[in-house]
Amino acid sequence: MLQEFLKRFTGQKRSSDEAKQRLQFSLIYDKLELNDTTLTDLQTDIVDVISKYFEIDKDALELKVKNDKQVSALVFNTPILNVKRKRE
């Protein structure tokens, strides 16, 4: 009781809360663990689509899964060299 009170008072975090948070995060991360072929396939597909509209630097692009405390995101980064003109 007293221990609990002291913990609350000093703002010490319950380790069980941290365990839950870490677990929730790592389970999402586990499921997002993509193997290399999936990632390369995805990259080729994305490049194909974007190339229809932009001229991009294919050597400088990067594709990765970013994990944050709260969310996971797929990040695709590429320099645009030129905007392609749509032909009527």
Binding site: E4, K7, R14, S16, A19, K20, L23, L27, D30
Partner: protein, 264 residues
């Protein structure tokens, strides 16, 4: 009517699979069902000692699957609980000696002879796990409230879903005092993370080790909180609807004193 095959699994080792299997099996037999417990951990057999039947092994599961003996010859009858049988694992063979097809053949025979067949899966997700789940009609996942057990349970749940099994969860070794102090995940936390149906909560109980020391069934001990939890779990698996009891703190000395003096 054909019997049901229930697989007890966890992914991680040492979370209480063997205790759970033997207790659930024994409790189902106490409910009047004919039960076979099958030790699927080839090379590392344990159920026989936990159940106190180690001196009576003649044939084992590998002999059954390879056709060297009949199911009835390998199944050891428990002398304390009627209708309870154990098919022990082989201690000398390699895990890969059994194939899912072979196990499936054996399970067909077992379903004819028993109401319930409980498969004690080995730890891990390799061949031994495959063999244990191949003929399962139902799955029970057991997990303790710690990060590694929960993570492994999640992985196993995924694999069971992939086989169209909808596993039910047992949270084992709950220590209410530590949950209260915030030192241990609560069963609600575990349930939040795994989000599957709960079939029972089992408190940490010193009697578990003691009963395995002597090879006596935990469920026969009325003073074992874990044993009583397993009896309720067996009832639920047998189709009864009974509320899930949450392990709580033992009453303090003062409340006990109060009770004896009739204050409460």
């Amino acid at each position: 009517m054909e019997g049901k095959v229930i697989v007890v699994t966890s992914g991680k080792g040492g979370v209480g699979k063997t205790t759970a299997t033997s207790s659930i099996g024994a409790a189902l037999a106490l409910e009047g069902k004919r039960v076979a417990i099958v030790d699927m951990d080839i090379g590392l057999r344990n159920l026989d000692v936990v159940m106190g039947l180690e001196n009576r092994i003649v044939f084992n599961i590998v002999d059954v699957v390879q056709g060297k003996c009949k199911v009835d010859q390998a199944a050891i009858r428990d002398r304390r609980i009627d209708n309870l049988f154990l098919i022990p694992a082989s201690q000398s063979d390699n895990k890969d000696v059994l194939t899912p097809a072979g196990v499936e053949r054996m399970a067909k025979v077992l379903r004819q002879k028993f109401d319930y067949v409980i498969m004690d899966s080995p730890a891990g997700i390799e061949r031994g796990f495959e063999n244990s789940v191949v003929s399962a009609n139902e799955a029970v996942v057991i997990c303790t409230p710690d990060v590694s057990a929960v993570r492994d349970a999640d992985r196993v749940i995924g694999l069971l879903y992939a086989r169209s099994l909808e596993p039910k969860l047992i949270v084992n070794r709950i220590e209410p005092a530590r949950v209260e102090r915030g030192e241990m995940l609560s069963y609600k936390d575990v349930l939040d993370i795994l989000s599957i149906e709960l079939v029972g909560l089992v408190p940490m109980d010193e009697k578990v080790l003691i009963s395995s020391n002597t090879g006596t069934p935990l469920v026969l001990q009325n003073d074992s909180t874990a044993g009583q939890s397993f009896r309720r779990i067996a009832k639920r698996l047998n189709g009864e609807t009974i509320p899930i009891e949450v392990p709580n703190l033992k009453p303090s000395v003062w409340t006990k004193l109060g009770k004896t003096f009739g204050l409460k």
